[in-house]
Symmetry: C2
Subunit: 83 residues, 2 copies
């Protein structure tokens, strides 16, 4: 079984309101050590595939494009783990 770990996040040039409000909440609740907060969607896929690493990467890259809710604001990165 192959595991693909996908992180979908706002492009850094756009504001991430969800992350900013979490940062404010944490500081307001006494966690003054919090200097920065980022928030992403984390999607884990279990894949049944015997393809080469290269082909796997190409397939997962295609899947990621389909998983984006908004191609303008969002981007992604992924890691592949073969066991």
């Amino acid at each position: 079984m192959v595991k693909a770990k996908i992180y979908i996040f706002m492009r850094p040039e756009y504001l991430n309101g969800a992350a900013d409000s979490k940062k404010e909440d944490l500081i307001r609740n006494g966690f003054a050590e919090v200097k920065d907060v980022t928030q992403s969607k984390y999607i884990e896929l279990e894949l049944q595939s015997s393809k080469s690493r290269k082909s796997l990467e190409r397939r997962v890259d295609e899947m990621c494009k389909g998983l984006l809710a908004n191609k303008v604001y969002e981007t992604y990165r992924f890691e592949i783990e073969t066991r």
Copy 2:
């Protein structure tokens, strides 16, 4: 600087509609190798702290409790990276 990597996810006994519909979409779009999909919120915190690992873990654990939108359905795990 310390990094806390937090994953907030639905408890396994509850249905995760977002993950299930992504799985269906991927399979419908020709990615038949997809066997399972899970989806979490991934929150990364940058912390300025010189506390011991043990105290850091306690602090981040408290923060996580505050970050849950719903304590019944959601749970979390985290990793701490010190550089």
